[in-house]
């Protein structure tokens, strides 16, 4: 990520949950987060986290995650509104909140991110269909453009489902090699090495690039915002 930033100076990182494995004592936040990401943190890159099932509930208070004590929250960057959700506990209050917040959003881009994927073709976990039944109608109704999730330790880009592009980017921290079972929903995938994603949004175009641990581009493309400004 540090090498990639030399070529593409990003200033925002969204985290898709399971941000830390194993012990999560204060010293672990230094060892497992602050030290590895020190060059990015010192350069002023802002991290905006969502939580996964391996995180602790109290991690919402960890300052560098910028969650301000909230399990789910929204923020804006120029013409993009991001929605970070807590997919581990999708209670009625959160469902009502995302419905209302998406309805009120006036930005060109509405991007949701959370840990459990609504669509995934990895064999270990696969799609979280219960969450899909709850959330997909709301996303479709309010014109969400792109959804990012983790949980399955692979990279997968799905063909647009009801107009929404879904990414599974869950292999930045851990890899489950060879775990993908691509179906006709799958547009691209990579399960042979760890990977992360770079995104750039310019007007109504979102450029994405999935990069492996060795720096190889394993997937890239452009998504155009349909109905921008709705």
């Amino acid at each position: 990520m540090i090498n990639a930033r030399a070529a593409f100076p990003f200033d925002l990182v969204i985290m898709l949950g399971d941000n830390m494995y194993g012990s999560q004592q204060p010293a672990d936040f230094v060892k497992k987060f602050e030290q590895p990401y020190a060059p990015l943190l010192s350069a002023g890159v802002k991290f905006q986290a969502s939580l996964g099932n391996h995180d602790r509930s109290e991690n919402v208070f960890y300052k560098p995650f910028n969650m301000n004590g909230e399990r789910y929250y929204t923020f804006t960057r120029n013409n993009v509104r991001f929605f970070a959700l807590d997919s581990t506990r999708m209670d009625q209050k959160q469902v009502a909140w995302i419905d209302t917040s998406l309805q009120q959003a006036r930005e060109d881009w509405k991007i949701c991110y959370f840990h459990h994927p609504l669509y995934s073709n990895a064999s270990r976990h696969g799609s979280s269909v219960d969450l899909r039944v709850l959330l997909e109608p709301i996303f479709v109704k309010h014109g969400v453009n792109v959804v990012f999730s983790g949980h399955d330790h692979v990279y997968e880009r799905l063909k647009p489902q009801k107009g929404i592009v879904y990414f599974v980017s869950g292999s930045a921290g851990q890899l489950r090699k060879g775990n993908m079972r691509p179906t006709d929903q799958t547009d691209a995938y990579f399960d042979q090495d760890q990977s992360f994603m770079l995104l750039e949004i310019a007007g109504t175009e979102l450029h994405f690039q999935a990069i492996s641990r060795t720096g190889k581009t394993v997937d890239s493309g452009v998504i155009r915002a349909v109905g921008a400004g709705r």
Binding site: Y21, G22, Q24, L51, N53, H54, D55, R56, S57, S87, T88, R89, M90, D91, Q92, Q94, H116, R124, H125, G126, S127, S128, V129, D130, L131, R132, V133, L134
Partner: protein
């Protein structure tokens, strides 16, 4: 062969024939009774759970649409009947001849239940942390649950009539009661507004007391009047409305003597509580079937190591906690029933590890849809391993029907 030896052989033959006859007689009386109990109290819930498991793993989208559409009607309304009938058993048990009569008899199981709930709960929180799923610790109250009907069935299989059975039932009632209390005070799903809830509930209790004072014999006014107000009060207050009839049932006039735990009311019984049971016994079983169907659907892909935290905690923690709790009770001057020792307590702890119906109810009440609930629900299903483990440990420890008599 001499006459003497021939007579001896004939005596032996007659002895074994009579033993076989006795065994046949016992099987003839015991099996229909227990199998009828299984059909009436146990089969529909596992059937619903089994269908849910197959359905969610083959057609998940249709399963979740059905489950989300019906969960309120099943969990918050229909399950009132199940908890009402469980409360009926407890109310009757306070009458002469019941396991809760006199109340002093319940002291040791109640004290022991503190150990049998605290130890598995602490163990559970440590285990899910060690298994790297700390978020699962939110579900700790599920480790308190004990399925009374299933526990009674397995206990009867192992102990036959034995003083351990009322002890185990009391232990289960006390553990579940503690579980319901924790649901009220440690529930992240519901915002509790106790003041308005207490006021409405007081109104419901007033109606029930008025009906009792005016000697109303029909259960309908208790159910629709007092029960309706109680349900509304609990729902508004954020407490679980499925418990609406629990405070109302003690007001229903009941028989002077307890017919026994899980002994069905006679069809000609005239008291209001028995009439309630006769009317609602089978609808409650249908509610349990749908409860299993709506709540036990766990996709296999949702499982992680943390899933095993609950079964491990209850299978190790309940017998251990029960031993500790009973030990403290004995130190405090209480006495174990006759024929109950540490071996019987270990076997009973394993039986009490099965949360099933109450465990699934706690999962649904505590956790919203998603991975945590799926893992907890599967953990509850895995806690059913308590039954075979109890039978094996009873055999190893020579407890109940496996007890070796002196000289054998």
């Amino acid at each position: 062969m001499t006459d003497e030896s021939g007579r001896h052989a004939a005596d032996q033959g007659a002895g074994s024939t009579s033993r076989r006859r006795r065994l046949r007689q016992r099987v003839r009386t015991t099996v229909p009774r227990l199998s009828r109990f299984a059909v009436e109290h146990l089969l529909l819930l596992p059937l619903g759970a089994l269908i849910a498991l197959v359905w969610v793993n083959t057609a998940p989208e249709s399963y979740y649409r059905f489950s989300f559409a019906t969960s309120f009607a099943v969990n918050d309304v229909a399950m009132m009947l199940f908890f009402a009938l469980m409360t009926k058993e407890v109310v009757e048990a306070t009458a002469p001849g019941g396991v809760l009569h006199p109340w002093r008899r319940a002291m040791l199981p109640v004290v022991a239940s503190i150990g049998a709930t605290v130890v598995p709960a602490l163990l559970y929180i440590r285990l899910v942390d060690a298994l790297d799923e700390p978020m699962l610790s939110l579900g700790w109250p599920v480790s308190l649950a004990t399925d009374l009907a299933l526990g009674y069935f397995v206990a009867r299989l192992i102990f036959r009539p034995h003083p351990m059975i009322p002890f185990l039932l009391l232990l289960g009632i006390a553990s579940d009661a503690l579980g319901f209390l924790t649901l009220a005070f440690f529930n992240p799903m519901r915002e509790v507004h106790l003041a308005s809830g207490v006021l409405t509930l007081a109104g419901a209790l007033g109606i029930a007391a008025g009906l009792r004072l005016t000697r109303v014999r029909s259960f309908w006014p208790y159910l629709l009047g007092a029960g309706g107000v109680s349900w509304f009060g609990l729902f508004r207050s954020g407490l679980h409305p499925a418990l609406a009839l629990v405070p109302i049932m003690p007001f229903l006039p009941h028989a002077a003597r307890d017919p026994g735990f899980f002994v069905d009311a006679r069809p000609d019984a005239k008291d209001t509580l028995s009439q309630f049971e006769i009317w609602w016994r089978y609808p409650a079983q249908v509610a349990l079937f749908f409860f299993g169907l709506v709540n036990a659907g766990v996709p296999m892909g949702a499982l992680e190591w943390g899933t095993f935290g609950l079964p491990m905690a209850v299978i190790v923690g309940k017998p251990l906690g029960l031993l500790i709790g009973a030990g403290l009770g004995i130190l405090g001057g209480l006495h174990l029933p006759h024929w109950v020792g540490w071996r019987e307590l270990i076997v009973s702890g394993l039986i009490a590890a099965m949360g099933f119906s109450v465990g699934l109810f706690f999962c649904g009440a505590l956790l919203p849809p998603g991975q945590l609930r799926a893992e907890m629900s599967m953990g509850v299903l895995l806690s059913l391993a308590g039954a075979p483990l109890a039978i094996v440990s009873a055999w190893l420890l020579r407890v109940g029907r496996f007890r070796t008599r002196p000289g054998e």
